[in-house]
């Protein structure tokens, strides 16, 4: 023991780390900040460390080459000792890091921590958030499967909409004119060197700012932030009624860090690694690419935006959102901190959370996507053909053969791109049905060239029978017959 402490003294005399760290551990923080609400940040750091450790391990085996990356992931999954578990931890850790970081961001905003004098801490945090999303995107691409290949295609298609320099941006992003070997090398460099380097530097700056400016005090309604008095009052409060950071505050932080990591480990053990899904062979086109959960909302937005707004919103929207986050502390840098007196802030957060989760939910359900195999997989239900005339049965065949159910559900099965056909006769008259089939409209292609008049006739005859027994058929708004003939 004596020897150990003498080694410690020898080290301390030269390195002086203890002298540097002690004031950090002892620095007083407001008593009420020893709260569970204040632990999301440290949990995010713990998850980041987990990502670094597991990431370095994966890099021992992963081959960042387009021809071998997929095989090296399979090797990790099935052959390397603990390879599957490290991949699983890295995947679930990335999900958890994005999720917990988002919670941290919402918490500090609602608690008014972005206000004077912590504006810079918030700004650095915004960049940390963006870098983490960058890690999430590049990480998902390093899975180098079909989703990664087409995900890159989606990224390039968005980038190509940049005015004037669209093509240059695409080529810079892909490392060449097309998604191939050079692309993966770029993604790998970004994911393993560039972005982590920036992240580590920014995490350091973020923590330094937290230490220098002090942990945000628990907001009290009516206690306003004023640039001239805030710091003096904070110092007084902390010295009068503060507690040392170590061990008073650290206890809960440590619990939350440990819990965050353990939850990831349990998820990893139960659910295992994610993917890779399908060889990244672009000639296999029977694939429906989908992003990981953090980009599902964006994915859904692309389907739902009116096409004419798309380019503008794609290019202006994200920069605008980022600028919006960055100017928050300048627009609302003083005044009330308590969320109980900041209705706009609370409603804003609710609106954003609801929008993003609703869009993400739609991104899971993809109601706009045709069900590509509905025509071959789903027979027309018997009750829809029972007792029909020969012509109507011909129409039922047209529905089946022309893959109408890729987009229209019948009997609860089929696509949701277009309206369900079960009661179409209550909504459209014969003339309207013919017009819709031949000319298309809304989201429907025109089938005039693809159906013979006889097929259209049969199809519409069948569609006219599709209404519940007790429902009336649709009537023309204006009766075309002369009044005396009605």
């Amino acid at each position: 023991m004596a020897r150990l402490s003498s080694i410690g003294r020898w080290f301390e005399e030269r390195a002086g780390l203890g002298a540097a760290v002690t004031p950090v551990l002892d620095h007083p923080v407001p008593r009420r900040t020893a709260s569970w609400w204040y632990t999301f940040g440290s949990a995010t750091v713990a998850l980041f460390v987990l990502q670094i450790v597991t990431g370095i391990c994966l890099a021992f085996v992963y081959v960042p080459s387009a021809d071998k990356a997929f095989e090296s992931l399979l090797y990790l999954n099935y052959e390397a000792s603990f390879g599957w578990y490290l991949r699983a931890m890295h995947f679930w850790g990335s999900n958890a890091m994005v999720a917990v970081m988002t919670l941290h961001m919402i918490q500090v905003f609602l608690w008014g921590a972005h206000k004077y004098p912590r504006e810079l801490t918030w700004i650095v945090g915004v960049f940390l958030f963006l870098c983490t999303l960058g890690m999430a995107f590049t990480g998902q691409l390093m899975r180098w499967d079909q989703d990664a290949y087409w995900g890159l295609g989606i990224g390039a298609s968005i980038a190509s909409r940049t005015p004037f320099i669209g093509q240059s941006v695409v080529h810079l992003m892909l490392g060449g004119p097309i998604i191939a070997g050079r692309t993966l090398s770029r993604i790998f460099t970004a994911h393993v060197f560039l972005i982590p380097g920036i992240l580590i530097a920014l995490v350091g700056l973020h923590l330094w700012l937290v230490l220098r400016l002090g942990v945000n005090e628990w907001p009290m309604p009516g206690r306003l932030v004023d640039r001239t008095t805030y710091r003096q009052r904070y110092d007084e409060d902390v010295h009068r009624d503060g507690v040392p950071f170590f061990p008073d505050v650290v206890r809960k932080d440590m619990v939350s860090m440990g819990l965050a990591v353990l939850i990831v480990l349990v998820c990893a053990a139960i659910f295992g690694p994610f993917g890779p899904h399908g060889v990244p062979d672009p000639t296999i086109i029977d694939t429906a690419p989908k992003p990981d959960f953090y980009f599902l909302a964006l994915f859904a937005l692309f389907a739902l935006l009116p096409p004419w707004t798309e380019t503008v919103l794609l290019l202006v929207g994200p920069p605008l959102a980022i600028v919006g986050l960055l100017v928050v502390p300048f627009v609302a840098g003083t005044g009330e901190k308590s969320w109980t007196r900041r209705p706009v802030a609370v409603l804003g957060v609710l609106l954003i959370v609801l929008t993003v989760t609703t869009l993400a939910g739609l991104g899971v359900a993809v109601p706009w996507s045709p069900v590509m195999d509905a025509w071959s997989g789903l027979p027309t239900p018997v009750e829809y053909v029972r007792g029909r005339t020969a012509l109507e049965l011909q129409g039922a065949l047209v529905v089946q053969n022309k893959q109408c159910r890729n987009c229209h559900a019948l009997g609860g099965h089929g696509g949701r791109r277009g309206p369900a056909l079960d009661d179409v006769a209550t909504r459209q008259t014969r003339d309207q049905l013919i017009r819709q089939v031949i000319q298309g409209g809304g989201n429907m292609p025109a089938y005039g060239k693809n159906l013979s008049p006889a097929e259209v006739n049969a199809l519409v005859a069948f569609l006219e029978t599709l209404r519940p027994a007790n429902a009336r058929a649709a009537k023309p708004v204006v009766d075309p017959r002369p009044p005396e003939a009605r």
Binding site: S160, G181, I285, Q403
Partner: protein, 173 residues
């Protein structure tokens, strides 16, 4: 004797000033000499022409008249380590004898692979529900235009297309 203590002579002051400027200049020159190749290296993929060239897709006998079939060619700008990504698919529609249409599989909306449905004579995209007619024109959904179409040539009974870059709105094939 060390020149650092005692009064600094004008000669020594001018020498120190010179050394400081020299050091600064050397480092600026060094940074520039490193920076030029670094920036040039990183920006190298940006070229006006992506290096497209003519590639054979197969004998025209592979493509029956009136049908649309998937064809595969090898990307002409490939490197040895491209692996499966060196193969590129395209939809070949033989309209009539020597009249063809060759479409990129990439949806013009966001680049997902469109599939051909021979019965309804439509191309459909699984991502956001874009649909195209058999001649490649936009039928419905979010795509801003019709399918990207390759230039093609028939040489000695073989179909050739001009390819080599990811078709996007900024750079259609």
């Amino acid at each position: 004797m060390c020149a650092c203590d005692g009064p600094v002579s004008p000669a020594s002051r001018s020498r120190r000033g010179f050394l400081f400027k020299l050091g600064l200049a050397l480092n600026v020159v060094g940074a520039a000499l490193v920076g030029i190749p670094v920036i040039g290296f990183i920006l190298a993929p940006i070229r006006r022409h992506g290096g497209q060239s003519w590639i054979q897709v197969g004998p025209i006998a592979n493509f029956p008249e009136g049908e649309t079939r998937l064809a595969v060619y090898r990307n002409p700008v490939s490197v040895d380590w491209d692996g499966p990504t060196a193969s590129i698919a395209c939809w070949v529609r033989r309209v009539q004898r020597d009249r063809f249409q060759v479409f990129a599989v990439n949806c013009t909306h966001l680049g997902c692979p469109v599939r051909w449905f021979a019965q309804s004579r439509l191309f459909m995209c699984p991502c956001h529900g874009g649909a195209y007619y058999e001649d490649g024109s936009r039928a419905s959904g979010p795509p801003p235009r019709g399918l990207f179409e390759y230039e093609y040539e028939i040489r000695e009974g073989k179909l050739w297309v001009r390819g080599g870059q990811l078709p996007t709105l900024a750079g259609p094939v």
